[in-house]
Amino acid sequence: MDSLIPYERYHRQLILPGFGEAGQQRLQDARVLIIGAGGLGCPVLQYLAGAGVGCIGVVDDDLVSLNNLHRQPLYCMDDLDLPKATVAVEKMRALNPDICINAFPFRLTNTVCADLFPGYSLIIDGTDNFPTRYMINDAAVLMGIPFISGAVSRYEGQVMLLNSDAEHRVSYRDLFPEPPQAGEVANCAEAGVLGPLPGIIGSMMAAEAIKWITGIGRPLTPTLLTYSLLEQQTYTIQLAPHPGNQFGPATMSEFLAMDYPAVCGMTSDITEIDPETFARMIGQEGVLVVDVREPGELPLAADIPHQLSPLSAFPGLSRWTDPEHIVFFCQAGVRSLQAARRYQQLQRPGQQLYSLRGGILAWVNHQKKAHV
């Protein structure tokens, strides 16, 4: 297989001491699943694709939005509202056609973990929420797959390689046994983030992935590295298994039955409602209706009291703490579901989210029929 190494492409890393053809071959044989194609996932993806990791999968159900671009410069204006996983993978195929790379443009669920994880030798957690972080951790632990966890908070970031070998089998639950509840820890949408920070942390994650795969250097295991952008300093903590760690699911069937959003205090379900239900909800006390279409989209929803919050910048500064029920609608019911999912991270406990199935077009049809 080594005769197939494209020397010119990988020359600058091939000549590194301790790397060489053996290192390149290990990269070529590696299979890495990147979860989240956002601020952390993009740099990981770019460097791993560039370095020649043989097989890469990218999971993300999000669409590119305008407020992503300051920290996710892989994307451009033409990519707005397109699925991140698909766009990112297309760009990586253009960067390195010698590797196999697959987009999974859907939401990571317990079942998706069970289906996808066994095909990979390393998992990258670049997600932006605790339900998914605990889901990835539990699945990786049960299947014995190492994973690199990265996360940011305002001006600081964390990186660690977990579940990496029998001696150092430390999981995320050894640090934080139970997930924080919704609203307890702010994410980027709430707390803000400076563009280069996820770039730095994502690059560190990519470096750890390459080190782990090729066996060079000392991996960040079992170590939590915290980086401060404001101080340009790092702080490392040696980790160890928690003596009482039986916090996660013990079997795959227990795992598949876990409701991670609920465990994190979020209502897991977004209810898709039909126009009839929508008609009953409009104007009721405690119900807020939000149009997530872009300015200028027709038909206008003049007969429905609502607020505007276009998906391209969603949720932006929008916070709705008072209403018990928030109904999102768009043109055809796809973007509203997306908005509802994004808003899940901001929803207060007890708040219920809905999406109008079929969008305003279904509503207009319903109104026409109702008036015949």
Partner: protein, 87 residues
């Protein structure tokens, strides 16, 4: 981080905080009279800073994670680390 660069007072520990914990407390590093162990420190912190009650964090002593109750001695460096969620 900037944090542990000052000389620790005799009889004190250096306490370092990260992320939202530091934001909630309004400081990143501080010296405290040395409690007997990490459990005593946790109790002392909850009393002095009620805003910590609802926050999750892990404790390390001299850069080693402390799952159980770890005895403390003057000069120890204790860090409080919350989970980060952003990506």
């Amino acid at each position: 981080m900037t944090r542990a660069q000052t000389q620790t007072d005799v009889g004190a520990i250096e306490l370092i905080c990260f992320g939202q914990l530091a934001e909630a407390l309004g400081w990143t590093a501080r010296q405290l009279p040395c409690p007997d162990h990490t459990d005593a420190l946790r109790m002392q912190l909850q009393e002095s800073f009620p805003q910590l009650a609802s926050m999750r964090f892990t404790v390390s002593v001299n850069r080693n994670i402390a799952h159980t109750n770890v005895p403390l001695k003057p000069g120890d460096e204790v860090a409080l680390m919350p989970p980060f969620s952003g990506g």
